[in-house]
Symmetry: C2
Subunit: 395 residues, 2 copies
């Protein structure tokens, strides 16, 4: 009855599902408070007060005609304008409202970009480790994922490996910085080198290769690390982002895609993305989420809380003898799995009632991911369990 | 730079765009109040008070952790349960929460169903006239639209024509009742006959043919007309709907897809739709829209207003000598174009500052569509213009 691709996904994804169910079972048996869950990137910080204030204001106008009716598929004009102003500062490139389309989160934005540019059989480059959903997004639109390695241990960009992976069928590269799962922020030097490689490949093939810069964690870096501008480094970049993390609004699904104003096809590319936003069934990003975003833009959750948790986690992992590259941004660690077998180590952790995700879930076995959207007490409670799991892995 | 399919869409859709722009130009020149706009199905009635009350309640809990965080991709469990209860009454078939997935409106739901069942080259049947977006939705997932005529003038279901159009590649039929653009509600007899044809075809091909029942206007019928149950008539029906019209929440994008609990593959089909909802980039229907819906379920806009407008419109059209089948539901008329050329007649109307959509925009030239989500004064003001346009068309 089902599409062949979807039959395949349901079969393949079953082991991740089994892990999730094993975690649920642990919580049922021992109580949620007795399980240290580092498996999910669901932000636990409360939304800033501006969100509640915006909802209050919306309640007062909710009984007017067209209060939440259709708007232009690209989003409310005043929100596009506000986003363009923010992006102009962040990216150092002058954007106008017409260069921004409001989307159902970054996931919606990436699907909108891919629908706009992929012909069947086209290739989409990603850097391992990578957010596993990218593979589905590419295949939704007839594309094929090609995975390019990053450098071992510190996950630095391997620009030569990117260049070697480009073929005449390569249409785009998805780059996530700050990175989920590694916490890596690619440096200005790395991004500049990447831009040169992409520009050369675009000239060689006579068709621009698109860089999809997936940046929902741009607001969240540590130790003064800065996220360089993607638009300044490469004109055929599309910046996509969401407010799931910065405003703790993951469920409401608001984000955007924005392009460089100076590319020759800018108008037609925007038309394509707005059309894709419509025909993929999004129609437009949620009206209420858009209105909240307009009111709350510039506000964000208290990032010092994430910074403290990162410190606490570094201490716990170091004391347990687990090796890791300190995350420069986002809220994940991607340490090396003691003993080398990530699936086994994650199982040992589960036996200590600690939930994590094996690196193979991100296309890179031998590592594991810990999300620190959890209270510091959870991190502290997990310390002895980490130590015991390491001892078992190395036995 | 763009995908070939999207290049094609941008070129083809340009005449509709020109019409839209011509309408905007009329409003600029003469003022919006001096243009009678029947072109858009954007509900103008205010949302019921329950929507404002729900927003007020949400504002009070918006600063709690996870207030609007990720939930299960299928939607909030309590909303799925409430929708299942409502569907059990409407469809006369016992549904549980697990048979319902909450989606980004009906457009999101249809894309979710199609992603779940279409292999490249599969055929999707629609009845002319049809909502033109269906063609894009089919092509998003590698499908091909096949258009089946309905009976002239009253748009009754031509079950023989449906049967004749079915091939081994036919995977589904999209049926919209009450219908946009005709206002037709298919009778229990028509639906029963259709169910038999689909069942025979499913048995012949050894694979169930899916009936996508697109029902956002189920709440809005006239003269006591009832919308029959699709799930009762055909077990492989998927009911999709939204609250865009019933709660005037078109911009917030909340709807659902629901299946018959008794089909053998029910669990796997739901798993596929929930996966599709996730990977298409919706992730989940908007959290705030879902919470509003849970609070406002059972409420609806004041439908007596639509009933009065329908009466007023019937009188205006009758007096102008325009022939039409009175709509049994929804908020559209689909009259015959006087003179026979729908594009010409819509142009004559525009010269009277009346905006309508030609039937060819719905795959059926010779007719035109009028949306009556407009005040009764707009209908009254348009009366002389309709009469003059008819005179010109018949000159």
């Amino acid at each position: 009855m089902l599409a062949r691709s979807v039959e395949g996904y349901l079969t393949r994804s079953s082991w991740i599902r089994r892990m999730f169910e094993a975690g649920m079972e642990l919580k049922r048996r021992f109580g949620a408070d007795n399980v240290q869950d580092f498996s999910l990137g669901n932000p636990d910080l409360p939304p800033p007060a501006a969100v509640a204030e915006a909802l209050q204001a919306l309640a007062e106008t909710a009984s007017a005609p067209f209060a939440f009716g259709y708007m232009a598929n690209a989003g409310y004009p005043e929100l596009r304008e506000a986003l363009a102003q923010q992006l102009t500062v962040e990216q150092g490139v002058d954007l106008e409202a017409k260069h921004v389309v409001v989307t159902c989160g970054a996931a919606g934005a990436i699907n909108v970009v891919l629908r706009s540019i992929l012909d069947p059989g086209d290739e989409v480059l990603v850097l391992a480790p990578y957010f596993v959903e990218y593979g589905f997004y590419a295949e939704n639109h007839g594309g094929q994922l090609r995975v390019v390695p990053t450098r071992a241990r510190d996950f630095a960009l391997d620009v030569e490996a990117v260049e070697a992976a480009i073929t005449p069928r390569t249409r785009c590269l998805i780059l996530n910085s700050p990175n989920n799962p590694t916490g890596r922020v690619y440096s200005a030097r790395e991004i500049a080198d990447l831009g040169e490689v992409l520009l050369r490949a675009s000239q060689r093939h006579g068709r621009p290769l698109v860089l999809i810069a997936d940046e929902p964690y741009r607001f969240l870096t540590y130790d003064g690390v800065e996220v360089p501008s993607m638009l300044a480094a490469y004109p055929y970049a599309v910046v996509v982002s969401s407010f799931s993390k910065s405003l703790s609004l993951a469920g409401e699904r608001v984000g955007f895609a924005a392009i460089h104003p100076a590319i020759p096809e800018a108008g037609r590319f925007m038309d394509a993305m707005i059309l894709a936003n419509r025909i993929l069934g999004f129609v437009n990003a949620p009206a209420i989420g858009q209105r909240i975003l307009l009111a709350a833009l510039g506000h964000q959750v208290d990032t010092t809380i994430y910074a403290r948790r990162r410190q606490a986690m570094m201490q716990v992992l170091t004391e347990a003898g687990i090796r890791f590259a300190p995350p420069q941004g986002a809220f994940y660690f991607f340490p090396e799995a003691p003993g080398g077998d990530d699936e086994a180590f994650v199982r040992f952790l589960a036996e200590e009632r600690i939930l994590a995700v094996p690196g193979r879930g991100f296309g890179l076995p031998g590592y594991f991911r810990l999300a620190f959207c959890v209270d510091e007490t959870v991190i502290a409670r997990a310390a002895p369990g980490f130590a015991r799991a390491v001892a078992r892995a190395q036995a």
